[in-house]
């Protein structure tokens, strides 16, 4: 129906710069490193975690969830290694954003990781490791631990 004469590139170029409808945030993933050495740092770590999650648009119940798992992971560091680091980061994938929480220590390590992850719902509260709970509540979870070398727990949650 319409005749299509050849386009000149200059004309095409002139019109292919439509203004973007929305400003886009830079895809920079900043990491926040929080040293853990005393119980005061538990509060610090979870407050930073909550603030970051809030910025990333997590719902209210997820804010509490994230703050709580950070608390648990931090507590593990203190209980078993006495000091370590919590690293908080921003995730981006296909337009979705999320939070990455990493708990690192160079403590004694967990000798039987599989068993630590096995602990049932009912008793995890009193035993304090909390790992099964953390794994259940987060979208992605991984733990690397070697006896004598320390432990790294990584957990991620998407804000979708």
């Amino acid at each position: 129906m319409n005749r299509r004469p050849a386009r000149s590139t200059a004309a095409a170029r002139a019109h292919s710069r439509p203004p973007r409808p929305r400003p886009r945030r830079a895809t920079v993933s900043d990491e926040m490193h929080i040293p853990i050495a005393g119980s005061q740092d538990i509060v610090t770590a979870r407050q930073y975690g909550r603030a970051l999650a809030l910025e990333l648009g997590f719902s209210n119940s997820n804010l509490t969830l994230i703050a709580t798992i950070i608390s648990e992971l931090t507590r593990n560091i203190l209980n078993y290694a006495h000091h370590g680091t919590i690293v908080l980061g921003v995730l981006e994938r296909d337009g979705r954003r999320g939070i990455a929480v990493e708990a690192r220590d160079r403590g004694p390590g967990i000798p039987d990781v599989a068993r630590a992850l096995e602990i049932g719902y009912s008793t995890s509260g009193s035993l304090g490791l909390g790992l099964p709970g953390v794994r259940r509540l987060m979208d992605e979870f991984e733990i690397v631990s070697r006896a004598g070398h320390g432990t790294t727990v990584r957990a991620r949650k998407w804000a979708s």
Binding site: S8, H15, P18, S61, S122
Partner: protein, 298 residues
């Protein structure tokens, strides 16, 4: 870009800048504003589009779209058009206008305008080409902007409706002081289960409920994830000081609960809703049961 004529060179052609082509286009469109709008509205009706709207409405919207169209060509900015597309969509979606009607109508405008260019520049083929080079990318982008605006608005509406339906289908009823009833009907998926729990916990706090009756007579089956969620809901309600009575437990669901490790003897269950309400009244009448201690082993 060079403007002007190369003298004494017969093959040289005056080159307008794209900007000047566009501005020529814009004046052409302004000049023919009345006829082209009318022609467009007529073609929309002929093609049986936008039948949910009256002729006057179609013409009124056509006018706004036309003027927005010209503004985009003139300024190169799309914000006003986007805002209008969203606004228009908000208004016409509830009236049942479909995506193909909106896209079809916008494409008709594109055709009407293109034809008007053919008519005007038919004696100067090269000029026509150049004008179309300037016109087409903009026209395409405009069509896309309007179509996408419409589709996004539709999707947003659908999500809103789904949310509303979910909320409606799980009402938390306050029957009397301190007693809430949550009748659940149909299929519960994890997302609905989560919403139920949120509504219930908020309801407990708002209504200061001490007893909640969750009736699942209308629920045929539950997978273990949702069954576990039910148990968590009962426990969370307890932390807010409310006792939960579950009624209408089918044998299948009872089995699912047992399979995930719940001791049914320790869970407060009653056969039917009526019985559950009676039990709730008993609990509320008995002061010794105010506040809750957990016996659930989970």
């Amino acid at each position: 870009m060079k403007v002007g004529r190369e003298s004494a060179n017969l093959t040289a052609v005056p080159l307008e800048s794209t900007a000047s082509l566009l501005s020529e286009l814009v004046s052409h469109l302004r000049q023919l504003r009345t006829q082209l709008r009318e022609e467009w509205a007529r073609r929309i009706t002929e093609a049986k589009l936008l039948t949910a709207m009256t002729k006057e409405e179609v013409f009124a919207e056509a006018t706004t779209v036309y003027d927005n169209y010209v503004e985009v060509l003139e300024t190169g900015t799309f914000e006003a058009l986007q805002a209008y597309a969203r606004n228009l969509s908000e208004r016409i979606i509830p009236r049942g206008v479909q995506t193909d009607e909106v896209v079809g109508s916008v494409l008709l405008l594109r055709d009407v305008l293109a034809r008007s260019l053919f008519a005007r520049y038919r004696s100067d083929f090269d000029k026509l080409n150049r004008i179309l080079d300037a016109y087409e990318p903009a026209a395409n982008r405009i069509a896309i902007t309007v179509a996408v605006g419409f589709v996004e608005e539709r999707e947003r509406k659908i999500r809103q409706q789904e949310e509303a339906i979910r909320e409606l289908s799980t009402p938390v009823l306050q029957v009397r002081e301190r007693l809430l009833i949550l009748p659940i009907i149909g299929v519960i998926d994890p997302q609905r289960a989560r919403q139920l729990t949120e509504q219930l916990l908020r309801g407990i706090r708002t209504n200061r409920a001490r007893v909640v009756v969750i009736d699942i007579t209308g629920v045929a089956a539950m997978d273990s994830t949702v069954a576990n969620h039910l148990v968590l809901t009962v426990e969370a309600s307890r932390l807010l000081g409310a006792t939960v009575i579950v009624t209408g437990l089918s044998p299948e669901i009872a089995q699912t609960l047992v399979n995930i490790g719940v001791d049914l003897a320790k869970m407060n269950t009653v056969g039917d809703l009526q019985g559950g309400i009676e039990e709730a009244e008993r609990l509320l009448g008995d002061r010794a049961h105010l506040g809750v201690k957990s016996d659930l082993p989970v």
